[in-house]
C-alpha cells in the first residue's frame, strides 16, 4: 500500500483543557485541570502541521522533538511518544504543567500566528502521566565505578541525577528537607502539580539506583572536601536553588499576619497546614488576603489563600496585568477563581489592628514610565495617591536572593549577587564542582533548571570518564 500522506486538520480549534469548574475547585486542593484524554490528544495532534522547520522546537529550552512526539501520538504509539520526549526532557508530567509555554514552545508554534498554537504542554503532561501505563524503565549502563554527589533535589538536581544514573554513575542526592522535589514540593501547590507526580519521579530515580539522603544540609553536615576525601566522591553538582526571600523593607512588614510567599506556601504544601490540627503546623486563615507580586509565586499564594477559606483575595502589582511574569494560564485561573487584581500600586506600610496582627495596608498608586533594563515599563509613584485597604493576612512574593549555603558547601567563585559563576556546561571555578539551576541563574524556570542539570551531567561524564583514559 502506498503511504498516505498526513493531512493536518487545518482550521480545527484548539482542544479545550478539562478544567474543574472554578467555583468548585477554588475551595480545595484538588487538581484544577484533569488533563487530556487519549481522544483529546489525538484530536490535538491532528492540528499540528508537522512543520519541516518546526519553530516550536526553537522555543523549547531543551529542544524537545515536538513534531516527532506528536506524530507518535497520531500513530497511537504512546510508549514511543513518551520515549521521544524523555530523550530531551526527563520530567514531562512536570514541564507540561508548569512551563511558561506561551513564551516557549507554544509561543513559537506557527499556528499561533493566525490562531491558537498546538497545546504542546497538554500533550506533554498527558504522556508523562501515562508513564506507569506505557513507560519502560530506561536501561542503565553498567556501573563505571565513579561516584557523583548532588546537593539539592529540585528539578536541576533530579535531572542531573537521572542522566548520570543512566550513564552508569553511582549517584547520591543530598537534600536538606525530609523529602525531595525542591520547589516542586514545597512551592508549587498540589492543585497545580500533584505531589504524587513528584514522588513518582523520585521513585523512578531510586529504581535507577540513585540514593537519596534527606535531612542533609550541605555546608553544615558535611562539605565538599569531606565528600571528596572521606566519602570517595569524584564530582559534585550544586543545585541548591535560589532560596532566600526578598522583602519590601517597609514599615510593619514583620507584623504577625504578614508572610513571605515561601513561608506561606511551605506551611501549606510541605507541612500540610491546611489539615491543622491533624497536622501540627499552623497557618493564619485570613478572610481578607492581599498578595504582592505578579509572578507564578504570587498566583500560587493568592490561589492558596482562596483554598484556605479567604473571602476576598486581592493581588496587588506594581505594573499592569500585561507585564506580569506569571504563566498566562495561572493568571487566567486565578481570575476565574475570584482573585481580584489591583494594578499599579505599591505597598507603603502595614499597620496593626488592636490584636497586634496586620489589619490595614497603605498603598500608593503607580504609573508606567520608560522601559527599564528588563524591557518592561518602569513603575513610577504618583504623588499624593496614597490609599488604604483592610487585610488580615498579607503575603509578599517579590523574588528571591542567593542561597547562603552555596559558599559553605564548596570553595567556588560567586558573582556579586552571591550566585555561583559557571561556564555554559556548569563548571565552577573548582575543577571537581559543577552547579546549575536557580543558584546559577537566579530564580528562573523548572525547564531551565533541568536543562542545566542535564548539561552538567554530560560534562561530568566527559570529564570523569576521560580522566580514566
Amino acid at each position: 500500500m502506498p503511504e498516505v500522506k498526513y493531512r493536518p486538520n487545518i482550521g480545527a480549534p484548539r482542544t479545550p483543557a478539562n478544567e474543574e469548574p472554578a467555583e468548585e475547585r477554588a475551595h480545595d486542593f484538588r487538581p484544577v485541570d484533569t488533563g487530556y484524554t487519549k481522544a483529546d490528544a489525538i484530536a490535538e495532534a491532528n492540528r499540528c502541521l508537522d512543520c519541516k522547520k518546526p519553530l516550536c522546537m526553537n522555543g523549547c529550552p531543551v529542544g524537545v522533538h515536538i513534531p516527532q512526539f506528536i506524530e507518535k501520538i497520531r500513530e497511537e504509539d504512546w510508549a514511543g511518544a513518551l520515549a521521544t520526549i524523555k530523550a530531551d526532557n526527563l520530567l514531562p508530567s512536570v514541564c507540561g504543567r508548569v512551563c511558561p509555554q506561551e513564551n516557549q514552545c507554544e509561543g513559537k508554534c506557527i499556528l499561533g500566528r493566525k490562531g491558537e498554537p498546538v497545546a504542546i504542554g497538554q500533550l506533554e503532561r498527558m504522556l508523562g502521566d501515562m508513564a506507569d501505563e506505557v513507560g519502560e524503565a530506561p536501561e542503565c549502563k553498567p556501573s563505571n565505578g565513579k561516584k557523583v554527589a548532588i546537593v539539592g533535589s529540585g528539578p536541576s538536581g533530579i535531572a542531573c541525577a537521572g542522566e548520570l544514573a543512566r550513564e552508569g554513575f553511582d549517584v547520591t542526592v543530598f537534600e536538606a528537607f525530609f523529602t525531595g522535589g525542591g520547589v516542586l514540593t514545597y512551592g508549587i501547590p498540589e492543585f497545580r502539580l500533584p505531589k504524587e507526580i513528584v514522588k513518582r519521579e523520585i521513585k523512578g530515580l531510586e529504581e535507577l539506583g540513585v540514593h537519596f539522603e534527606y535531612n542533609s544540609v550541605a555546608g553544615r553536615l558535611f562539605d565538599a572536601d569531606e565528600l571528596f576525601n572521606e566519602d570517595g566522591f569524584d564530582a559534585l553538582y550544586l543545585a541548591v536553588g535560589a532560596g532566600l526571600p526578598r522583602f519590601l523593607h517597609v514599615d510593619g512588614e514583620n507584623l504577625p499576619g504578614v508572610y513571605c510567599a515561601n513561608e506561606y506556601l511551605t506551611r501549606t504544601n510541605l507541612m500540610k497546614a491546611y489539615e491543622f490540627p491533624e497536622y501540627d503546623t499552623p497557618i493564619r486563615h485570613g478572610k481578607n488576603v492581599v498578595v504582592f507580586g505578579g509572578g507564578n509565586v504570587a498566583m500560587d499564594a493568592a490561589r492558596t489563600a482562596l483554598r484556605l477559606g479567604a473571602e476576598k483575595v486581592t493581588l496587588a502589582y506594581r505594573r499592569t496585568e500585561a507585564e506580569m511574569p506569571a504563566r498566562r494560564a495561572e493568571i487566567h485561573h486565578a481570575k476565574e477563581e475570584g482573585v481580584e487584581i489591583l494594578e499599579l500600586c505599591n505597598p507603603l506600610r502595614f499597620l496593626p489592628g488592636p490584636d497586634g496582627f496586620v489589619s490595614t495596608i497603605e498603598l500608593q498608586r503607580m504609573e508606567l514610565g520608560e522601559p527599564d533594563a528588563s524591557g518592561r515599563r518602569r513603575p513610577i509613584p504618583i504623588q499624593d495617591s496614597e490609599f488604604a485597604i483592610p487585610c488580615d493576612v498579607a503575603v509578599t512574593a517579590i523574588g528571591t536572593r542567593a542561597n547562603p549555603f552555596a559558599k559553605l558547601c564548596a570553595d567556588v567563585e560567586l558573582n556579586r549577587w552571591g550566585l555561583i559563576e559557571t561556564d555554559e556546561n556548569g563548571r565552577t571555578s573548582n575543577p571537581r564542582v559543577w552547579a546549575g539551576g536557580d543558584i546559577v541563574t537566579g530564580a528562573a524556570t523548572v525547564i531551565l533548571a533541568m536543562g542545566a542539570g542535564k548539561k552538567a551531567a554530560a560534562d561530568i561524564k566527559e570529564k570523569l570518564l576521560s580522566e580514566e583514559a
Binding site: L244, Y259, M271, E278
Partner: protein, 278 residues
C-alpha cells in the same frame, strides 16, 4: 529515622534525649541547633545541641514541655524513633573575653547550658545567672551546678528559690564589680531586653541567642526574620546569636506570639485525641 538511645528526665517537664546521628555528632558546635519532625503529621521545631560525641555517634538535646510537640516528644521512650532530625543548623556561638556571664531564663536555660559548658571547656571564667518565674520552672539546676563556674546566681520572680527578683540584679552586680568582660543571654524577650540595657550601661558587649518561630531552618522561608541594627536577618542562617544591643525586641516578641491561638488549639486537640503515637 533517628533512634532514641537514652532518655533522661531532669524534672517534671524537662527531658534529655540522646539520639543516634553519627554525621551530625561529627559536625555539631555549641550554639548550633537541630530541627525535629516527630512523625508524618508533625511540625518542625528547633532544639539546641546540648551535647555530642563523634566517637560514639550520638547527639543530645534538652527540651522543656511547653506545647503539643514537646508534649509528644516527652511521650517517646528509649528505642523509639524520631522520623526526621536535620542539623547542625545556624552559626556556632562565639563569645569574646575571658570572663563571661551566661544569663538564661525559662526554656532558654536549655540553650544556655551547652554554651556555659563549652565556655568552661574553653577555659573561660564563667558566671551563670539562672532565672525563672518560680522554683518549679527553674530547669537544669544540678547540671549547671556541676560545671566549674566562677559564680552561680539564681533568681525567681516569687523568691521560691534563690534571690527574689530578676536576672538583672546579679548581672548588675557583676558589671559593677568589673567581674565580666562579656555576656551571653537567652530566654524570654523582656529578660534579654533588660539584660541588654544593663550591659549597655556598663559598656559590656552582650550576645543574645534569639528564638523566633522557624519552619525550614535553612534561610528559605523568612519566618525567623529578626530586625538587627535596622537590617532584616534570618535567625536560622545569620544567627541564632546576634549583638543584643542591636536587636528590635518588640518585633521579636510580636512574631513569637503569632500562633498563640493555634498553639492552644493544638495541645487541646492532642489531649482530647492523642495522635502523636501513630
Amino acid at each position: 529515622m533517628f533512634k532514641i538511645l537514652k532518655k533522661t528526665q531532669f524534672s517534671e517537664k524537662v527531658f534529655e534525649f540522646r539520639v543516634h546521628a553519627p554525621r551530625m555528632a561529627k559536625h555539631a558546635h555549641a550554639g548550633q541547633f537541630l530541627m525535629v519532625r516527630i512523625n508524618e503529621t508533625g511540625e518542625r521545631v528547633p532544639f539546641t545541641f546540648a551535647n555530642w560525641n563523634p566517637e560514639e555517634g550520638w547527639i543530645e538535646f534538652i527540651f522543656m514541655v511547653v506545647g503539643k510537640t514537646t508534649q509528644c516528644l516527652s511521650e517517646l521512650n528509649e528505642g523509639d524513633e524520631i522520623q526526621d532530625i536535620t542539623g547542625p543548623l545556624g552559626c556556632p556561638t562565639e563569645i569574646e573575653g575571658d570572663r563571661v556571664a551566661v544569663v538564661g531564663g525559662g526554656v532558654g536555660l536549655a540553650i544556655a547550658y551547652p554554651v556555659a559548658r563549652t565556655l568552661c571547656e574553653q577555659g573561660k571564667k564563667v558566671s551563670v545567672i539562672m532565672g525563672a518565674r518560680n522554683k518549679d520552672l527553674l530547669i537544669l539546676f544540678e547540671q549547671f551546678a556541676s560545671l566549674p563556674l566562677e559564680n552561680l546566681f539564681i533568681t525567681t520572680d516569687d523568691g521560691s528559690m534563690g534571690e527574689k527578683g530578676v536576672v538583672t540584679l546579679p548581672l548588675r552586680r557583676l558589671c559593677e564589680t568589673d567581674s565580666i568582660d562579656s555576656c551571653f543571654c537567652v530566654g524570654p524577650v523582656p529578660m534579654m531586653k533588660f539584660s541588654t540595657l544593663t550591659c549597655r550601661e556598663f559598656k559590656i558587649p552582650i550576645v543574645a541567642s534569639l528564638n523566633p518561630i522557624m519552619v525550614d531552618g535553612t534561610g528559605m522561608c523568612g519566618c525567623c526574620r529578626v530586625e538587627v541594627g535596622g537590617e532584616t536577618k534570618f535567625a536560622c542562617v545569620d544567627g541564632p546569636d546576634f549583638d543584643a544591643s542591636l536587636v528590635d525586641w518588640d518585633d521579636l516578641a510580636h512574631r513569637q506570639a503569632s500562633y498563640k491561638a493555634e498553639e492552644a488549639a493544638s495541645i487541646k486537640h492532642h489531649e482530647e485525641d492523642c495522635a502523636c503515637q501513630k
